[in-house]
Subunit: 162 residues, 4 copies
């Protein structure tokens, strides 16, 4: 069994340019760990993380919210459907061994972070706001790692793999 790293972040409507570029680099980092990249299968950070992983020779899986594979991005090796809308967020989290969150600036991503905390999944959050950190730390400091750069993210990822 391969290790599965979920990369969670906003779609194109809510993602900033920085989010999209960051997710692309995260995808490359994930592929280099020889883990499978799991994402929500759609646009924005989901697409760019899968694109990054493919560029680095990785394997990509998407668990999408709709009933139609044509809705999903083209960088997925294995596009899976649920027809469950955001109800599928639970599945993305429960299927991941480690999670990486891009900024947590959208409610969909927040629902995934909440499930990750509930399940005790090791989670790295990059580019989170100060207010988000304060609240999440109040809720649970356990297994949640905040990083501000890709270098720091790489360090945390290495640590989780040891």
């Amino acid at each position: 069994m391969k290790k599965i790293i979920g990369v969670m972040g906003p779609g194109e409507k809510q993602a900033t340019q920085e989010d999209v570029e960051c997710a692309f680099e995260i995808g490359k980092l994930v592929a280099k760990t020889d883990s499978v990249l799991l994402c929500g299968g759609m646009s924005g950070t989901m697409e760019s993380s899968a694109k990054g992983a493919k560029e680095a020779g990785g394997l990509t899986v998407g668990i999408g919210p709709t009933k139609d594979k044509n809705d999903m991005n083209e960088y997925l090796d294995i596009p899976l459907l649920t027809g469950m809308h955001a109800g599928r967020n639970f599945m993305n989290v429960i299927s991941s061994d480690i999670l990486i969150f891009v900024s947590v600036g959208s409610p969909g991503t927040l629902s995934e972070l909440a499930f990750a905390i509930q399940m005790g999944k090791p989670s790295i959050i990059i580019h989170g706001s100060e207010k988000m950190k304060d609240y999440i730390n109040e809720l649970s400091g356990k297994d949640i790692y905040f990083v501000d750069s890709l270098d720091e993210l790489q360090i945390e990822l290495n640590r989780l793999f040891q």
Copy 2:
């Protein structure tokens, strides 16, 4: 069709005594609006909100995470099952017309708040921490109402019913 008010809050492991008592009073308020009370069906605030609604003559529905009705509290007129664990949180939110959150001090409740924001459901949060308010306001101020007492909650609820 009756209006459905979802009351979301922690189970007995994570609920404080104040949460449980507050949920009981919220249950009574919900019943007095002649709405159906919807909750997650289990213990803690879920049980006490249903108990409060029954005491005030209301109708109570629970959407539970397990496969067995014996897991659910005894104050539910209509105990529904999903077998989906916390995946059922999405259903609690999408089925509610209005949501009331008790404190948002547990990740399960946070996942429900995140879905409510994503769906644009009118939501009242009672006894939220300052850090939670700061972050949620940063994420989205839309249709989210923070209150610190049952009197304020009653006022917001009346306003939503106009």
Copy 3:
């Protein structure tokens, strides 16, 4: 807790006139047992069973496949949503204490019958074809009752309530 009787059958595209009329009468029978009628919330037999239950003073719950209550029929006291398309069929079955199937002439209804057999839920099938009976009996004769008239259905329902 009230007993929940699920009435499962096709929507308006696949239901015959006989199915729709039969479901209406089943709704009335369910209401007279003082049980809650649970259905899939949409048109066809789902609508007419809820209409029948309301005419007989019953309480009706629908678990719908879409994200919008406006898609659901008007005879539901408690319209619940899942946004899960036919994935919600599992929930209809697991939430019911007893199931009544109208003819099983559509694949959606068949998926619900299959789940009912899997969970060992007592199930009455009215107006099933001979071929369906032969196959279902081969798969499992346990707790599955075939009836050809509303009178026979009433007898089986009484027996299940003893």
Copy 4:
């Protein structure tokens, strides 16, 4: 994107020795089409189909019903979880481009066949009973192919790939 072929059949409690051996050979055939094998992730035919695919150099995905990867078989490259019990059957079907059913002798497999018919997914059924064929043909003859041997299955699979 790779094509996904779902192989659906009973777990070890309900599978016959013939079912298990047949699923193993199906797994090999699927791998030779260069498609991804998707299964329910557990024991019995699910395990042997994945084992067969791995022996032939294929890629295997499981969508499991539980919350724990340790419940899943060891021949899965990508073990995904849902925590949804048999509610996950819907996902197995909606995610597959083509489905192969081993015998349809258990209600879980029947629920998956019912969903496949509802979604119009091309489906091959091997070793189905005469009674099952009669009923399924009555329900829908569309895109459902009955075969009695692996050779016939191979022919149908080739045809679907043209």
